[in-house]
């Protein structure tokens, strides 16, 4: 019961106003503020808490992407992860990278690192895919506890309270397992300056997807990115009769 892998994704900061590139191939990322995906922060926090409670010995933070993602790994280290792994992906491969490729990488790493748990955020705020955790579990043939709002280790099993449409569902799954963090799982700690300093001494290993035997070819092609249509102004009516008349007039009823 020793090692946890945590995935952290570098995304455009939640407070930034997103703009679509003039050629509609994607959104503007150059010069735009980036930070760790909020759900990944929650995942890191949970992993570090498990380590503080002595359920696990080591937390490894993993991120896939170009050099800049090492900033995100370092933030995870400053929050308490022990070491990091940077899987280098850049250029076209990076642009085309999606949940399937990430899941393959994490599955390979989970086996290589002999992890007992893989903890991910439930989804990323840039693509909102909500697939990586599920795919990783499937590729590994491991149980999954997704949308976790509470995690408790019980011997060789994990009790997960999940947020589902109808309310809360509690399941018990065997380890090794994949968990994905939902909003209410915890409140991530602020990285303190002394911890950031300590993090500088922690190691970040480099590798390529090929080293893990993962092919990065994407089965998905993005055709076009557009902004959502601008909301048109509504019309105010004074009485219910007016409302009914208007609805009839524009063919709704």
């Amino acid at each position: 019961m020793s090692r946890v892998l945590v995935g952290v994704k570098r995304v455009i900061d939640y407070a930034v106003k997103i703009r679509v590139k003039p050629d509609h191939s994607g959104v503007v990322t150059d010069g735009v503020k980036h930070s760790m995906n909020p759900f990944c922060e929650i995942a890191v926090e949970e992993a570090v808490k498990l380590k503080e409670k002595k359920f696990i010995k080591e937390v490894v933070a993993v991120s896939c992407g170009p050099t800049q993602v090492t900033e995100t790994i370092r933030t995870a280290l400053a929050m308490g992860c022990d070491r990091g792994i940077h899987v280098e992906v850049s250029g076209k491969d990076y642009e085309a990278m999606g949940p399937l490729q990430i899941a393959k990488i994490f599955a390979a790493l989970a086996k290589k690192e002999e992890a007992s748990l893989v903890i991910l955020g439930k989804q990323a705020i840039d693509d909102d895919c909500n697939q990586t955790g599920q795919m990783t579990a499937a590729l590994l043939d491991w149980p999954q506890g997704t949308f976790a709002s509470e995690v408790t280790i019980d011997g060789e099993k994990v009790k997960v309270v999940r947020e589902i449409d109808g309310g809360l569902e509690t399941i018990k799954i065997s380890m090794p397992a994949v968990l994905t963090a939902d909003l209410r799982l915890n409140t991530p700690r602020y990285a303190t300056l002394p911890n950031i300093m300590k993090a500088k001494k922690k190691k970040i290993a480099n590798m390529k997807p090929a080293d893990l035997g993962v092919d990065m070819v994407s089965r998905v092609e993005v055709l076009r990115v557009d902004e959502p249509p601008t909301r048109l102004a509504g019309v105010k009516v004074e009485t219910v009769d007016d409302l009914v008349a208007k609805l009839k007039a524009n063919g709704t009823i």
């Binding site: 930070s35 900033e71 370092r74 933030t75 400053a78 602020y190 990285a191 303190t192 300056l193 002394p194 950031i196 300093m197 500088k200």
Partner: protein, 650 residues
């Protein structure tokens, strides 16, 4: 040109505009300074003057070595501009002093600190509670915010001045009350230990101060001693056993006074003057622990602004301070105090540049959305001028802060004039302009109240202006004196004299004397660069004129000193933005053209202000105005208030 036999003819003296009697002036300034020692003793100028123009004091030997050091040309731009010279080494190019590791480290620190101040710290709550919330204080301690410049091996974050400035800017942007709590602790409270503490003192005190386990306070001011810091009365006497100093006295307006465990206290001690054999009061700095016993404090002062910061009176009653706790040299306390204040000054400009940034964002938001008379108000000229001025002022302040921090990090020891200038600039009346655009904005009202103190503490702006002017005069005076000396041995100094005569002849003829910023300033800014050069030339001439006109009495001509200081501030500001904008243009920043406009506009207006000051200082009507003001002041003082009877007759 004129070599051969050069004798000290009256004609030559006129050409060089040096009065044959000038040699006396330097000594006289020194003598007057010693006589009126306490008049400006609080200003570093007097201390410097006293030091370097020692007239038979214990500092005589120090002065000799200081003089030797002074003979090495000062690299400070400000020092040289007073002589009408340009030394660009510290200002061009705009300093970029962090290596890759330091830059990367700083980039990692900024987001968590910003996030904390955006999401956790509640400035309104701190303001209404009149203290920093306990949970916030705890988080700040955990964050390491209390030991930013303490070396890492003693438990601090080990930041350079530039890195410190960047973080302090964030604090300034969000909560000046917290800013002062942090600053009173580390920027002045225990800075003395960092600067002049012995290794034993550092090891003993810094670790706990770095984590915030103990807080620090700087104790100089007393009820009767504010600007006149050398007049403090808190007394330290050696105990009979010789192992302790016994401290007695009271300090007021002490930030963190009610919270601190560790106090840097300044007290006077009677000491034997080696030269005269008489007892003289000298100030010594001490590290005093509350746990020594006898240290008490008063209730928190109710203030208009920075309410979250604790300000209290601190009393010392027979406090035994071990002799190991003397900070720096016995009798050298005044210098320690000035070194501490000097060292922390750039932090204020940095913090305030952050405050300005925050207020401007709110002002812009208001101006861009508020509609009156049918249009968004930012379309009106009156508002546009306000927004433009705010922007320029922030640009200048920010540029000064980081230029000075960069100079300090590069090892410059010669930054005191620039540091004083930056503090004056950042905190001057102009700040009142800021919130005017959006007084209804949330928190802006509080910022306005918080800003008032910045003109007063850490050296009032009035005193700092005198300091800037007097320091500048002193160096310029030395330059003139060296010319005087050269005149005594013209053959041996023919080159120097020839150069000076040529320069002055050109000046009189209205020609450029060859002073230039070409090569330093980006070609697109050459016009503004020329304005700066012209301003420096005129400024240098004015400084000389004032020295020749007033001689030793320049010390007392505060109307003159203020205008000289204001011109110096404007000049330094011009050069600082020229440097920054040049760098942006050279590096092809996206904002380069915008910065160019900021720079050019600033230079045009600053040039006009400087030239007006220069003109005023030469004009007889201004001299009359000074005389009149003096008379008006005397009349109302004598009358205890307004003199003119009411227009209604009752």
């Amino acid at each position: 040109m004129l070599l051969g036999k050069v004798s000290l003819t009256p004609a030559l003296c006129t050409a060089l505009r040096i009065s044959p009697a000038f040699s006396g002036i330097q000594k006289q300034i020194g003598a007057a300074a010693t006589q009126n020692a306490r008049l400006y003793a609080s200003s570093q100028a007097a201390e410097a003057v006293l030091d370097k123009q020692a007239v038979g004091t214990t500092t005589a030997t120090k002065a000799a070595t200081a003089k030797k050091a002074q003979s090495v040309e000062s690299q400070s731009f400000a020092v040289n501009m007073f002589k009408g010279q340009i030394n660009p080494s510290q200002v061009f190019p705009f300093p970029s002093v962090m290596n890759e590791e330091q830059t990367q480290f700083l980039q990692e620190l900024v987001p968590p600190v910003s996030k904390f101040f955006e999401e956790v710290n509640d400035p309104a709550k701190n303001d209404s509670l009149e203290k920093v919330e306990d949970s916030t204080m705890e988080s700040l301690k955990e964050m390491g915010a209390f030991g930013l410049q303490v070396p890492q091996d003693l438990g601090g974050v080990g930041l350079t001045n530039t890195q410190y400035a960047r973080l302090v800017e964030i604090v300034g942007q969000h909560d000046l009350g917290v800013g002062i709590t942090l600053g009173a602790h580390q920027s002045i409270g225990f800075k003395g230990i960092l600067l002049v503490g012995s290794p034993a003192q550092k090891e003993k005190y810094l670790p706990k101060l770095a984590t915030g386990e103990t807080l620090a306070a700087f104790c100089l001011t007393e009820p009767a001693s504010g600007s006149d810091a050398a007049s403090i009365k808190t007394l330290a006497t050696l105990s009979p056993c010789g192992k302790h100093y016994i401290l007695n006295g009271g300090k007021i307006w002490i930030s963190n006074g009610g919270l601190a465990e560790i106090f840097t206290v300044f007290a006077k001690m009677p000491m034997m003057d080696e030269k005269t054999g008489q007892m003289k009061d000298k100030i010594t700095a001490f590290i005093v622990e509350r746990s020594f016993g006898g240290v008490t404090h008063g209730p928190p002062e109710k203030k208009m602004g920075i309410k979250a910061s604790n300000t209290a009176e601190v009393y010392f009653e027979n406090v035994p301070v071990p002799i190991e706790n003397v900070l720096g040299e016995v009798g050298g306390g005044f210098k320690v105090a000035m070194a501490i204040l000097n060292n922390g000054r750039f932090g204020m400009a940095a913090a305030l540049s952050g405050t300005m940034k925050g207020v401007i964002t709110q002002a812009v938001d208001h101006a861009a959305n508020r509609v009156q008379f049918g249009s968004k108000i930012h379309t009106y000229g009156a508002i546009q001028e306000k927004l433009a001025r705010m922007t320029m002022l922030q640009y200048v302040t920010e540029s000064m802060a980081y230029m000075i921090s960069g100079n300090m990090d590069s090892g410059s020891k010669d930054y005191h004039i620039e540091a004083a200038i930056s503090k004056i600039f950042a905190s001057t009346d102009i700040l009142w302009l800021f919130p005017v655009v959006c007084i209804q904005g949330s928190g802006v009202e509080r910022v306005m109240r918080d800003l008032r103190i910045f003109r007063i503490f850490e050296g009032t702006n009035d005193i700092l202006r005198l300091f800037v002017a007097l320091n500048g005069f002193q160096d310029a005076g030395k330059h003139l004196k060296s010319l005087q000396k050269a005149l005594k041995n013209p053959l041996g100094n023919a080159g120097l004299l020839a150069g000076e005569i040529t320069k002055r002849a050109k000046r009189t003829a209205g020609l450029s004397t060859g002073l230039t910023l070409q090569g330093s300033v980006h070609p697109e800014l050459s016009h503004s660069g020329n304005l700066a050069v012209k301003a420096i030339e005129h400024f240098g001439v004015t400084v000389e004129d004032m020295l020749l006109k007033h001689g030793k009495n320049i010390l007392h001509e505060q109307f003159v000193l203020k205008r000289v200081a204001d011109s110096a501030i404007d000049l330094y500001a011009m050069v600082v933005v020229l440097s920054r904008a040049s760098r942006s243009l050279s590096q092809g920043h996206a904002s380069a053209q915008h910065e160019k406009i900021l720079c050019e506009t600033w230079c045009i207006e600053a040039y006009d202000r400087i030239m007006k000051n220069v003109k005023d200082l030469k004009s007889s009507s201004t001299t009359q105005v000074f005389k009149n003001m003096k008379a008006i002041s005397a009349a109302v003082v004598e009358n205890g208030g307004i003199v003119a009877p009411h227009p209604l007759g009752f």
